[in-house]
């Protein structure tokens, strides 16, 4: 009996914990959106900080990212082509590459890279700001940390996921064309036809929306986790751990959701 009671109590505590977490994240998100909608937000200072954030999130890792995309794309294109040749589905290889690599894998890996690099940094920084009372100091000065600390990071994160995905996607397309048809224009018509089959207006919009959500997830979730940190220094690593776990779950959820919407 006592065991059962304990079990119910633990479940209840967990449910309340989850509820509080989701509520915190959603409240934070709604604050982000309301700040975004305020015209006063969009001044020169905000834009400057966004530029800085794009620099730290995307431009600084551009060369590493491109090498990484090149390697992954090359491996996957090669495997797909040789498998397709073996089972006699070579015609479908282009479409397979575009669908798997360009629409799914590339945005996902980009978001994952940014989450690993910038998301964890954001989480730590926000947690430290919270623990060190810096946030209280800012609120005493009536300077909204949302506008100059959080929002630029979110906007920068979204812009970076989109920007890097576009660059990586174009690189992958070139690589795919070269791998399939070599250095000749002969396959251009067929390639264009496949592209036109895959990229309907809906798919293009879906890809954009997915990138935006990825960008939101890799920045807002670490921030929300950082803001939740109790004012104890030893809780900072725990906060980062929780935040990054949530980012990972959110990325998988977004990916599964987008696949469900696209194929079911």
């Amino acid at each position: 009996m006592e065991f059962l009671l304990n079990f119910v109590e633990r479940t209840g505590a967990k449910a309340v914990g989850w509820w509080n977490t989701s509520y915190g994240v959603l409240a934070f998100l709604s604050e982000v959106l309301s700040t975004l909608a305020r015209p006063a937000t969009w001044n020169r200072a905000t834009l400057d900080t966004i530029v800085k954030q794009i620099y730290f999130t995307a431009v600084q890792i551009l060369h590493i990212y491109l090498i990484y995309v090149l390697a992954i794309s090359w491996v996957i294109i090669t495997i797909t082509l040789s498998t397709a040749r073996d089972v006699g589905l070579f015609d479908a290889a282009t479409e397979m590459i575009i669908r798997v690599l360009l629409l799914e894998l590339l945005p996902f890996l980009t978001a994952l890279l940014i989450a690993l690099r910038s998301g964890s940094a954001i989480n730590t920084e926000v947690a430290l700001m919270k623990v060190n009372n810096e946030l209280d100091a800012l609120s005493h000065c009536k300077v909204e940390p949302m506008q100059f600390e959080f929002l630029p990071r979110i906007a920068g994160g979204i812009a970076s996921v989109i920007g890097l995905t576009v660059l990586g996607g174009v690189l992958t397309l070139f690589l795919a064309y070269l791998s399939i048809y070599g250095l000749s224009a002969s396959g251009f018509q067929a390639f264009s036809n496949t592209i036109s089959t895959v990229f309907s207006v809906g798919v293009l919009i879906g890809l954009g929306v997915k990138c935006v959500f990825f960008g939101l997830a890799v920045t807002t979730l670490p921030m929300a986790a950082g803001l939740e940190t109790p004012k104890k220094l030893f809780m900072v690593p725990v906060s980062v751990l929780r935040g990054m776990m949530r980012v990972f779950l959110a990325l998988v959820l977004i990916e599964v959701l987008s696949l469900t919407l696209e194929y079911i």
Binding site: A58, L173, Q189, A190, S192, S200, L204
Partner: protein, 317 residues
């Protein structure tokens, strides 16, 4: 440092924007946004296996795609498709549209224009989409051919009826041409003549049976012609294969006729006895050959389906 930062970010953002816009323009171009596309309506009995995005190919090159599949108010199938401007010039009034659904790989609609001098197909016209699915009809056909060939093989195999009969005849003629020659044949005429006559009857029965088989194949081929060739649906290969079956059976029939004649000769013992035995040996070789041919053909047919409809597909009728 700060200025450098702005420069780099500016470069990054501009590159991304330019590439994104270029890609968008490319997709729109590929989707025919900038060119006048030709629209075709395809009428079909069933929309099974037809999906939007399915390519239309001419000589293996993609020239357009299916845009939508709908039911009209009368319950008919309306398949709308778009053809690129460059592809539209290959469409003639006598072009045929076939749904090609291989067992492995994506389905497509094959367009063939037998006569490129006929007038161009106008925009917005409605054409008939022929749905022939060799994958479904050929196996049944093959099954029947297999049965017939098994039959022939049964008749002509080493320990089969025909061979034992021939061996019989062989012994008799051998005995006739043996040490005691014609004398024994004459002396034992009543006893020895009986098996010969029986063998002969047997053989006549066999040839009748073979004739029947051959007639069956003929009938089947006529049926196949009506049933597949009418729609131009079956591949060149299957037609060749069936022609081969037929030729082989005619061959077998011819051989057996020769057995018939030869055995008639055998009855006329005093005649060309020695030549007769040689002929009999040759005949057996002939029959063995026929059996081997039949086996080869079976193998051929097995190999041709269902994995080999590529090569012959593009031949114009």
């Amino acid at each position: 440092m700060f200025k450098n930062l702005h420069l780099k970010v500016g470069l990054f953002v501009i590159t991304v924007l330019v590439l994104a816009l270029a890609f968008l323009a490319y997709v729109l171009h590929a989707r025919g946004f900038f060119e006048q596309r030709m629209h075709l309506q395809l009428a079909a009995a069933s929309a099974e296996g037809i999906t939007p995005g399915m390519p239309l190919t001419f000589s293996g090159m993609s020239i357009g795609q299916v845009t939508s599949v709908d039911l009209n108010d009368a319950g008919g199938i309306v398949i709308k498709s778009e053809i690129s401007q460059s592809g539209a010039k290959w469409l003639r009034t006598d072009s045929t549209f076939n749904l090609d659904k291989p067992l492995v790989g994506g389905a497509k609609i094959k367009v063939s224009s037998p006569d490129l001098s006929s007038p161009q197909l106008p925009d917005g016209s409605t054409v008939l989409l022929q749905i022939s699915d060799p994958a479904q009809e050929i196996p049944a056909l093959i099954e029947r051919v297999k049965n017939i060939l098994a039959n022939v093989e049964h008749i002509t195999r080493q320990d089969g009826e025909l061979n034992s009969t021939l061996a019989n005849a062989n012994t008799i003629t051998a005995r006739m041409s043996g040490k005691y020659g014609v004398l024994e044949g004459v002396l034992g005429s009543e006893e020895n003549a009986r098996p010969v006559v029986e063998s002969l009857k047997n053989l006549e029965g066999l040839t009748a049976k073979l004739n029947e088989v051959s007639a069956k194949v003929d009938a089947m081929l006529v049926k196949t012609d009506r049933w597949l060739f009418a729609e131009d649906g079956v591949s060149e290969q299957s037609r060749q294969a069936l022609a081969q079956v037929r030729a082989m059976l005619v061959d077998a029939q011819g051989s057996l006729k020769r057995v018939d004649e030869l055995l008639k000769n055998a009855v006329d013992i005093s005649a060309n006895v020695k030549d007769g035995t040689q002929d009999l040996a040759k005949l057996r070789a002939d029959i063995d050959d026929s059996v081997r041919k039949a086996n080869d053909l079976l193998n051929d047919i097995n190999r041709m389906w269902p994995f080999g409809s590529d090569a012959a597909d593009m031949k114009l009728p």
